[in-house]
């Protein structure tokens, strides 16, 4: 598995170990596509009933997270906040603003500021 794939597995595990996150996302049912723009790979995460899971490709996503592999690994591993690359245009997130904001809050709840 790629470095990004490993990182996402750890991210999902971190989400599922956080009770506050599970409570916050209990009614957040979303399919997220994580797509590096410098590698021929894609990863899917489904959030359902407060539980996150890495899944196989499954229809149209609610959110698309795009950026260089290094940037994606950095933010999903908690090495950097998503805000900095987002504000510089190195991270792109397509989807509703509320969902984009919730992704940021998930990172905040797992790793803090």
């Amino acid at each position: 598995m790629s470095a990004l794939g490993d990182t996402l597995e750890q991210f999902v595990a971190a989400c599922n170990h956080n009770l506050r996150l599970q409570e916050m996302n209990h009614d957040w049912d979303r399919l997220i596509l994580v797509q590096p723009d410098d590698a021929a790979e894609e990863h899917w995460i489904r959030y359902h009933a407060g539980v996150a899971a890495v899944v196989a490709a499954d229809g149209e996503p609610d959110l698309i997270v795009e950026g260089a592999s290094g940037v994606l690994v950095s933010i999903f591993s908690g090495a950097s906040t998503p805000t900095e690359p987002y504000m510089s245009g190195d991270l792109r997130v397509r989807g509703s603003q509320d969902d984009v904001m919730r992704l940021d809050i998930i990172a905040l709840l797992i790793w803090g500021e």
């Binding site: 506050r20 409570e23 916050m24 399919l31 596509l33 797509q35 894609e42 229809g59 149209e60 996503p61 609610d62 698309i64 906040t81 805000t83 900095e84 987002y86 504000m87 510089s88 245009g89 792109r92 997130v93 397509r94 989807g95 509703s96 603003q97 509320d98 984009v100 904001m101 919730r102 940021d104 809050i105 905040l108 709840l109 797992i110 790793w111 803090g112 500021e113």
Partner: protein, 447 residues
């Protein structure tokens, strides 16, 4: 490229852009520019301003096609110029949102004063601003179709009332519709204010399936706003006496009454109310999310990224509402609303000039990056756009603001605002950005 399950339609791009541009204070901006236009050519100033703003829309279209992001100008200026300039411009830009909310509150207060003279207008401003803030804090959102309908209601109402008014205009009046006075350029500069906010649809770029929808939406919205407010300006100058138009804080109510009597008055009351409430709601929701993001990257104090249990940035929202209320109270007490109009027109003109420069800069810095929209006429049309908007910005900033004396207060205000933002970015932001990263900090949501 993968498609989104839920994407916004073109209709929403049009109505959002038109709705954000159509604030209740626009009625007073039209009245002010009509005074400078001379004759009855206020409509022409709006038409020409609309054409010029369309050039600016082309630049915003290329920028959003290059970097479709909710962070919009924060990203574009950072990529095309520098991080510091990006921070300063973003702070000044969000300040104009507060001005527009305060200005709309001023209009709203006077609409209530016209309807219920016994109660102070400021009370209504506080109640309604508080109501919108409370709804936002509770996470209650206005449905998209309601916003769509409201935008169309305003523009449609203006067109219908204006056409009815123009139907009874005596023939001699039509001879002055092209008569331009010596201060017509000032009228043109203020005409830019009518379109303020049309580009605030660009932060929604991530929510559309195709970022090319944004340019289409902006261009169609500018056409609608030009027609609706151009007709309103023409009808108001044709039907209302010049001094009545210049002195009234509610010219739209006067026109409604002149055309349709009591029905027309109440019709325009409803239009003013829904427009101002939409401005409050859209302005507070958009600007509070911007403050949240700015606080998350430590451009603003972390307290502003504090969320409530409904994931609403509560401190940012309350700070904006209080700021708008204080500003509205000052304007209401002093009556110098033209200062807000002139400052808004100046800031937006300078921002449109900056957008033109960013297009040039990013074509040079990132020539191979994919763009789904390219503004035509580069570089000459873009340079011309930049020069024209710098000129219009200076024109708006040096136009009389209702405060006696020779001091160009709008210019002083814009310079002070920019200076404070620059000082803040140079002195305070480095302290805020000290590398602190610890789980369990105070910005976590109250879940």
């Amino acid at each position: 490229m993968a498609g989104l399950k839920r994407a916004l339609p073109l209709r929403t791009a049009v109505t959002t852009s038109a709705g954000l541009a159509s604030a209740a204070i626009n009625f007073l901006a039209v009245a002010e520019l009509a005074g400078y236009a001379g004759g009855r050519s206020g409509w022409l100033a709006i038409l020409v301003a609309g054409v010029l703003v369309t050039l600016a829309a082309g630049n915003f279209s290329e920028l959003t096609a290059l970097y479709p992001s909710a962070a919009a100008i924060r990203v574009w200026i950072r990529r095309g110029a520098s991080d510091q300039l990006s921070m300063v411009a973003s702070l000044v830009y969000v300040g104009t949102v507060v001005f527009v909310i305060a200005a709309d509150a001023f209009v709203l207060g006077h609409v209530f004063l016209a309807v219920l003279p016994g109660l102070p207008g400021l009370l209504w401003i506080a109640v309604l601003l508080g109501l919108v803030t409370l709804l936002n804090l509770r996470g209650i959102k206005v449905a998209g179709w309601v916003q769509d309908l409201n935008g169309l209601f305003l523009l449609g109402s203006l067109v219908v009332v204006s056409l009815l008014a123009l139907d009874h205009v005596p023939a001699p009046h039509w001879h002055t519709v092209f008569q331009m006075g010596p201060n017509w350029i000032q009228a043109l500069a203020l005409g830019v204010f009518v379109f303020v906010g049309f580009e605030w649809v660009t932060p929604l770029a991530e929510e559309f399936q195709d970022s090319r929808v944004i340019p289409r939406g902006m261009f169609m919205a500018l056409g609608l706003v030009t027609v609706a407010f151009g007709l309103f300006a023409l009808a108001a100058q044709m039907v209302l006496p010049a001094h009545g138009l210049a002195l009234s804080p509610v010219p739209q109510l006067l026109l409604g009454r002149a055309v349709l009597g009591g029905w027309g008055f109440w019709w325009m009351v409803v239009v003013s109310l829904t427009t101002a409430m939409t401005t409050f709601n859209g302005g507070l929701a958009t600007a509070s999310r911007f403050l949240y993001a700015a606080a998350r990257e430590r451009l603003l104090p972390p307290a502003l990224s504090r969320l409530n249990d409904r994931l609403v940035p509560k401190n940012a929202l309350v700070a904006l509402a209080v700021g708008a209320l204080v500003l509205a109270a000052v304007v209401y007490a002093t009556g110098v609303y033209t200062l807000l109009i002139n400052v808004g027109a100046a800031v937006e003109s300078f921002m449109y000039a900056l957008a033109a420069w960013l297009v040039l800069s990013l074509r040079h810095r990132e020539p191979n990056r994919r763009r789904t929209f390219r503004v035509p006429g580069l570089p000459w049309v873009t340079v011309l756009t930049m020069v024209v908007f710098v000129g219009l910005g200076v024109g708006a900033a040096t136009t009389a603001s209702g405060i006696p004396g020779p001091v160009p207060w709008p210019l002083v205000f814009v310079a002070a605002l920019t200076g404070i933002a620059w000082w803040y970015v140079r002195r305070i932001v480095p302290q805020l950005k000290s590398p602190v990263r610890a789980a369990g900090t105070s910005t976590r949501p109250d879940v």
